[in-house]
């Protein structure tokens, strides 16, 4: 039987809810369950209302559910804020000091188990007991955290966990939230989207990263720094984003596969650098983790509204490609591909992610991660290399062999002014034409390498849901729910949003009776881009721009407002009673 339990831990920043969530997630994965975790938080270090959500069961899961089966309330606010999302089988776990009038409330006397600093592990043991995890599975998770470094803390933790577990066995009434034994075997990795990007880049041969901290991109650089020494990568926190991209360009020019990581506002400062990479034909990977704008917007929330900005950023004309991974494994795989493509095309290449993916985790088999052979920067001079070396030699495909400065007797000259083949500045109009066309010829390579959008479902469906980037999981889940009710629904997901090649998707759009786009912005930027590339008009759109990620129920609730889908059959009330949609 398929199982699907949604757990949500709510509290203030600083209460340790992320620790409980991560340890519980690890234990669930080791016990062979499928999980999906996500986080929502306010832009502050203490206080505010933060949540850590874990969906667990037979899965696989690619998004959270709006409705909650297990609510862990670390403060009373959590009870008030989430009471409308509870399912009929829901249990609410809260300390005796927190008042809850809700049926299913389990009032836990945490003070009886030990001092307050151990309440997190006590809660972990209790939740494990509710979910049906064994005490060894939980202990292992806690050990990875304290074990080797603090054996005395570990012993103390184990004692408290045992007390809490015993209490749960005696006191927790019957409930419907216990998982049967997990079925997945073999080692699995638990990665979030930003960790996957960092690891994908390192695996693909990244040697240099410059960044300026900005949520939700910061953790990519932090992850890189953790592993930089092992992997021989140099990282630097630049004085600002302008410096970051110019450093990456300098490093790439001198032979290090390079990347910058930022979010919309920081990327705005990089725009001139993007153009410099285009003009000097310097490979650079630009990772932009989106959050809602304009300006500072909602720093810790999610949105997909920087697509048009990134497509057009940088003055003048030069080719680019934009990847937009839809899940954790493609965060890894497409980062690796993008780094390699930057080198091959000697161009700025983009990877667009967002807070939702950045803070979501899902267990993966190591075999799902594919980096290919590490990128090798530049070319070695051939025996017939002309002197002086021409950095911008005119070639059929526009790509000139890229020698590296200082690594041969040849001199490498690169310029941001229009230049001749030797790199020195030129104001000659014929040279200008030749160079513009040379740079644009490289677009052919980017087109050849374009990742196909993925059609999930029947080619000639009655409803086709079109999406890109991080909305893949929730959109596919919504489609699966509709198919389970007997509707003919398919999804078309783009994990690359530029170049857009109509041969890869136009016939799919035309074959569907009805096409609806689903994107995390207010104006339908991707639908507009599809129209620009192919002429196909997507008239019906589902947009979300409240700062929160899509969920299947949100999409279905919006779909009900579109002609032909008004009365959607009710979804199984046991697993999903609430839409979470405020009208």
């Amino acid at each position: 039987m398929s199982q699907d339990i949604q757990l949500l831990i709510g509290g203030e920043a600083g209460q340790g809810l992320v620790t409980i969530g991560q340890l519980l997630g690890k234990a669930l994965v080791r016990a062979g369950h499928q999980i999906f975790t996500s986080q929502g938080y306010h832009s502050r270090i203490r206080g505010g209302h933060n949540v850590f959500a874990i969906r667990a069961g037979s899965g696989p899961f690619f998004a959270s559910r709006d409705s909650i089966d297990i609510l862990v309330a670390l403060n009373s606010e959590t009870v008030a804020l989430h009471r409308d999302q509870l399912t009929s089988r829901a249990v609410i776990v809260a300390d005796t000091a927190i008042s809850s009038d809700l049926p299913g409330t389990i009032s836990v006397p945490f003070a009886e188990f030990g001092p307050e600093r151990f309440w997190n592990t006590a809660a972990l043991a209790l939740l494990g007991q509710i979910l049906g995890l064994s005490s060894t599975q939980l202990q292992q998770a806690v050990e990875t955290m304290f074990g080797k470094k603090h054996p005395e803390m570990m012993a103390e933790n184990l004692k408290i966990m045992e007390k809490s577990r015993k209490w749960a066995i005696d006191q927790v009434p019957k409930h419907g939230c216990t998982l049967s034994a997990g079925a997945v075997t073999g080692d699995r990795l638990l990665l979030n989207g930003n960790e996957a990007i960092a690891l994908g880049a390192l695996a693909a041969g990244l040697k240099f990263c410059a960044f300026y901290p900005m949520t939700p991109s910061t953790s990519i650089a932090m992850e890189l720094i953790t592993h930089a020494e092992t992997m021989g990568c140099v990282t630097e926190q630049a004085e600002d984003e302008i410096a970051a991209i110019n450093m990456a360009i300098g490093a790439a020019f001198a032979g290090a596969p390079s990347m910058v990581t930022t979010s919309g506002g920081g990327f705005a400062l990089m725009a001139e650098g993007v153009s410099l990479a285009g003009m000097t034909e310097t490979p650079v990977l630009i990772v932009v983790a989106q959050r809602p704008g304009p300006a500072t917007g909602m720093p810790t929330r999610t949105e997909q509204a920087d697509l048009e900005f990134i497509l057009h950023a940088g003055h003048g004309e030069f080719p680019r490609a934009i990847f937009a991974p839809g899940n954790i494994e493609t965060c890894f795989n497409l980062t690796a591909k993008a780094l390699a493509l930057a080198e091959r095309s000697q161009s700025p290449i983009f990877l667009l992610t967002d807070q939702f993916l950045a803070d979501s985790t899902r267990p993966l088999a190591p075999s799902e991660l594919k980096a290919g052979t590490p990128v090798k920067a530049g070319a070695e001079p051939g025996d017939t290399e002309t002197t002086p070396y021409q950095r911008y030699r005119l070639t059929e495909n526009g790509i000139s062999p890229r020698l590296l400065p200082g690594l041969s007797q040849h001199l490498v000259v690169a310029g941001s002014d229009e230049h001749d083949q030797d790199g020195h500045l030129s104001e000659d109009h014929q040279t200008r034409i030749a160079m513009v066309e040379k740079r644009l010829r490289k677009f052919a390579l980017l087109k050849e390498e374009t990742v196909r959008p993925v059609l999930d479902g029947e080619h000639d469906c009655s409803l086709l849901l079109v999406c890109w980037g991080s909305s893949q999981g929730p959109v596919q889940e919504a489609a699966a729910m509709l198919r389970a009710q007997g509707s003919s629904v398919a999804t078309l997901h783009f994990s690359q949003v530029w170049p857009l090649l109509p041969v890869q998707f136009l016939n799919i759009l035309q074959a569907a009776d009805q096409v609806v786009s689903v994107e995390g912005n207010a104006t339908g930027q991707f639908a507009r881009l599809i129209q620009r590339a192919s002429g196909f008009v997507i008239a019906e759109q589902i947009n979300r721009y409240d700062g929160l990620p899509f969920t299947a129920r949100y999409i279905l609730a919006k779909l009900e407002k579109i002609a032909g889908w008004e009365k959607l059959p009710v979804i199984n009330p046991n697993t999903d009673t609430s839409t979470g949609v405020k009208s």
């Binding site: 020494e229 360009i249 300098g250 490093a251 001198a254």
Partner: protein, 287 residues
């Protein structure tokens, strides 16, 4: 691998886009002489510049060149040095580029202290854009953009660099080529970030700070001047008016920024393989 047989001819001769009589010619010449004196062959050198008349200099001698954006020579130079620490990296640009548009990078570069050289052609004016005030323009300097004269206090790059404890700080003058060559050579050979602010007459857009004006004021520091004395260095750096001291004004020993990266001890990043089992090792953290 420096070769003592390098000659000035190897650095070539190019036509320039500078006005006759421009102070840039003297600087270009001294730069070439200094590179030869350091025994550096053109392929060992990377010149990184921004945009402006000064920033065109790298196009007028043979070397590796990255001519980037206005204000952004330093971050590119730093990135390149971090990718290949064996390169002799020189960031070269005008006063507007280095201290105005690129001011934040200037401060950050002095703090980091990589083994690079900064050469600023300081003509106290924006040359390429036809004569607006620059951060180093004298108070009262009138231009079409500042018709009533500059009100803002001039930026003193030498004093700022001393205050920040930059590891070598010097002031030169393009009208004293022998002295300037020695300063540039010293800056290149210095281990750490070395700044040479080079006074440069602009014959077209700066009719105040002319050859004559500088000649009347510039003097060489005494042989017994001790550049390790920071208090004295600051007083010397602030001396800019009736008299202008030239030479190495401040010098100190600081750890190199690049030494924190173990991987760079093995040479250029482009020559290093990605560790074979590296990813496997990393993934263990996530099981």
């Amino acid at each position: 691998m420096t070769s003592s047989q390098v000659t000035i001819e190897e650095y070539g001769k190019y036509e320039t886009a500078w006005c006759p009589g421009c102070g840039n010619f003297g600087i270009l010449n001294s730069l070439k002489q200094a590179l030869v004196a350091c025994g550096l062959a053109p392929h060992q050198v990377l010149l990184v510049s921004g945009i402006g008349q000064a920033a065109k200099t790298p196009h007028y001698l043979k070397a590796n060149v990255f001519n980037g954006l206005h204000g952004r020579s330093l971050p590119v130079a730093i990135g390149a040095k971090l990718a290949n620490p064996e390169l002799t990296v020189i960031a070269e640009s005008g006063d507007g580029c280095m201290y105005g548009e690129g001011g934040n990078h200037f401060l950050a570069a002095l703090r980091r202290n990589l083994d690079i050289t900064i050469l600023t052609h300081d003509n106290q004016v924006y040359g390429l854009t036809k004569g607006q005030a620059s951060p180093t323009s004298d108070q009262g300097f009138a231009t079409k953009a500042q018709p009533h004269g500059v009100v803002a206090t001039p930026f003193n790059p030498v004093a700022v660099a001393v205050t920040m404890g930059a590891s070598l700080v010097a002031r030169g003058y393009s009208g004293m080529p022998g002295h300037l060559t020695k300063l540039i050579a010293q800056a290149i050979q210095h281990r750490g970030t070395a700044l040479v602010d080079i006074l440069q007459p602009c014959v077209v857009f700066n009719k105040v700070n002319t050859y004559r004006w500088y000649k009347e004021r510039c003097y060489e520091l005494n042989a017994d001047y001790d550049p390790r004395d920071r208090d004295q260095a600051l007083r010397t750096a602030l001396e800019f008016g009736g008299r202008i001291p030239l030479g190495v004004i401040y010098k100190t020993h600081k750890p190199l920024f690049e030494e924190q990266f173990a991987v760079l001890k093995k040479g250029p990043l482009a020559r290093q393989e990605v560790p074979q089992d590296g990813l496997q090792q990393l993934l263990r953290h996530y099981t």
